[in-house]
């Protein structure tokens, strides 16, 4: 088990390195100068030049990359050009809230999506199935931004049930998590439906039923457990996406997340923070993938990693 984890982590290293190189190059190839943005639109050329020197932006790219890698190996991600604070601190500040929101959203998605998908699959083409399918279709195609704003206008402004923004209590998490979780709920519901339908048509289900097992036992113990593998796969992928791709939800609810930090940093051409955030996101994806693989083994004892 341990050797498996070690092997997986080592295999991940080249892809992380690849991500670092690509991001490093892309963010510098984009037009726009961090020094100009820092100096503000009213600054003189001389001021801009001084700021460039101060942040080592005058060095040729390969030298900058060398410095970046040298610091990275020592666990130093450099300092933000925008706030001048260590990038590590910035990430540490945003990461927990990102995790909190993504976990709440995926939890909602699983709690609603899986049962809805199962109900759909048990009675294909029934009213319930069509309803779930329709709602899922709307959920996937609904603009997050619009949904979030409507939720604020209705639940916060009209009814006064939840605060408009902020963090700290459960009430603060509800609206952003629901907003963020809508499309994942829909995707998980669809995935559950198709996966369940496939399993339900297999021979062992017929055997289980002919043994006279109760329908509930057949569904939950025999069918759903076998249908879980693709659901867990999709759930894991969705979770990764929610970690990094929650920019719109984070903006609407002013939620301090990595996604928004990344976008703000790109707009400010804050190279060190962009690099650090992308690195963190890639590592998160890899960790989630490993966790998903470990879950497979829990769900299906036939899958072993030693």
């Amino acid at each position: 088990m341990l050797s498996y984890l070690l092997r997986r982590s080592l295999i991940a290293l080249p892809s992380i390195l690849g991500v670092i190189v690509i991001v490093f190059a892309m963010v510098r190839l984009a037009p726009g100068d961090p020094a100009v943005l820092l100096a503000g639109e009213f600054a003189s050329a001389e001021t801009v030049e001084r700021i460039r020197e101060r942040f080592g932006l005058n060095e040729p790219p390969h030298v900058q990359f060398g410095i970046f890698m040298r610091d990275l190996v020592q666990g130093d991600l450099g300092n933000s050009t925008r706030t001048r604070r260590p990038v590590i601190d910035e990430l540490a500040r945003y990461f927990p809230s990102t995790l909190e929101l993504a976990s709440a959203a995926i939890l909602i998605a699983l709690l609603i999506g899986v049962p809805a998908g199962v109900i759909s699959a048990l009675r294909p083409n029934s009213v319930a199935d069509v309803t779930v399918t329709l709602i899922a279709l709307i959920g996937v195609s609904m603009p997050v931004f619009w949904f979030g704003l409507l939720a604020i206008l209705y639940f916060s402004v009209q009814l006064g049930w939840f605060p408009v923004q902020g963090r700290g209590t459960l009430a603060h998490v509800v609206l952003p998590a629901v907003t963020l979780g809508v499309s994942s709920t829909a995707i998980i519901a669809r995935m559950t439906r198709s996966s369940m339908l496939e399993i339900l048509s297999q021979d062992f289900i017929r055997t289980a039923r002919s043994k006279g097992l109760r329908e509930r036992v057949v569904t939950n113990k025999h069918a759903l457990r076998n249908a879980l593998i693709p659901i867990v796969t999709v759930g894991g992928l969705e979770f990764g996406t929610l970690m990094a791709g929650a920019v719109l939800t984070e903006t609407v609810f002013n939620w301090p997340g990595i996604g928004r930090l990344l976008v703000d940093s790109i707009l400010a051409r804050d190279y060190p923070v962009v690099q650090g955030a992308v690195l963190l996101i890639s590592v998160s994806f890899i960790v989630i993938n490993i966790l998903v693989d470990l879950l497979y083994a829990l769900i299906d004892p036939r899958i072993r990693y030693d």
Binding site: A30, P31, G32, D33, V36, L37, L38, A39, G40, E41, F42, A43, S44, A45, T47, V48, R50, I51, E53, R54, R82, T83, R84, R85, E90, R93, Y94, S97, L149, I152, L153, S156, V157, G160, W161, P163, V164, Q165, G166, R167, T251, V252, F253, N254, P256, L267, A268, R269
Partner: protein, 505 residues
Amino acid sequence: MKTLRYLCLAAGLGLGTAWAQPLIIAQGTDAVTLDANDATDSPSATVISHISETLFKLEPDGSIVPWLVESYEVSEDARTWTLTLHDGITFHDGEPLDAEAVKYNIERLTDPDNAFAFAFLLAPISEITVIDELTLELSLDEPFAPLLAHFTHSSTAMQSPAAIEAAGEDFGDNPVGTGPYRFVSWDRGEGVITLEAYEDYWNEGPEITEVRFITAAESTSRMALVETGEAHVAVRVPPQDVERLDANPNITVENTSSVRTIYMYFNALREPTNDVRVRQAINYAVDKEEITEFLLGGAARVSDAPISPGVFGYTPVGEYEYNPERARELLAEAGFENGLDITMYSPSGRYLQDIQIAEAIQNQLAEVGINATIETLEWAAYLELTNRPPEENDVLFAMLGWGTVTGDADYGLYALFHTDQWVPTGSNRAFYSNEEVDSLLDRARTSTDPAEREALYAEAMQIIWDDAAWLFLHSESQLTAIRDEVEGIIVHPTERVLAYNARFR
């Protein structure tokens, strides 16, 4: 929840004393730094203005009053300024504000190694001599009249030298000034900054003991905060929301002029915009009144000069009324009777309704035979493209805004129209060049007679206006939503919300 709040409000009525309730102000973006010398954006300057104070103060009506300075004298040759400070002013760390501290602050801002963007404001000061505890002498190589206005700029605010030395790079997170409010905390993740009243404040202290700045980037969410009472003030109300918010019995939307002028500049070096007739034609072809009325909901004022009212040296110098006939005539004179093609650049989301305004201009130009294509770029790329030296710069026609935040015409004209200020050196992206204007601007910089300076600026602006150096559009107004339980909020023309005179009704 709501009922509870009203009960609290009802209970609070008639108390009229200092409230323990915090005053909450919602801004569009979080502050970047609270180090006055280092800040270049309005949200930072807004917060800093409560913590750290300047030697002189720019009042909302454009007048300048001595603030930390009790009195000052300017020598006959205008090269020596003597400042005398109020006695008994202390920083929040208990250190005194004396002549040494002022010297330290000016030197810190102008030190080239610090690379502060606003160092140029005080760069004309060549030497600072401490005379005694409260008096210092500033020497200038050349007379520099705008200095007084520059001393009102929030980046020249006085901060505790001891605290700066102790905090080093972290001073921007732990600012220490002499202001009515002391810094308490800054949650950068959520963009929440908390300040509390400074008990040893040298002047009349504030009534509200705690002020909190929160961040809401999305304007609908920001307005919702004021509607639910989670914030008392929200900046930058979208024009389309004004009517709805004003209809709310608890909210008033204040419309305050800003020193930010919005314009589209012409490239004076390249065809066809190097022809004054083409530039004038475009000015006649665009209906500025319509733009301010329909796109900005009245939250703007049609320009009648290159700078806005509220700036020292502003004088109305003319108008290009909407006259498509005249525009067509001028185009024909310039040899474009069959129209012309031009690319216009506009940022998107940088200024109030910017891209919508560009589209309106495009339509109006089409009516006089000018076929304009709109190009928009993300802000960083936009700045870079418009900032190239003349030989590499093929932007002919582009929208920008300029805030004359010092309150002095020099800042709004010199960097934008003087030949020495062509990009990438200065901010003259139009490559405008006129010897007469240069000489007027130079003289207005060194003259010590305010009346003479005003006359010189009026003359310079008249030439710039007749030359149609820009398509002159409008100056923006600030729309601020304020809940009725708060009074005394000042929305300053320099785009800062000031809460130190506020109170709860």
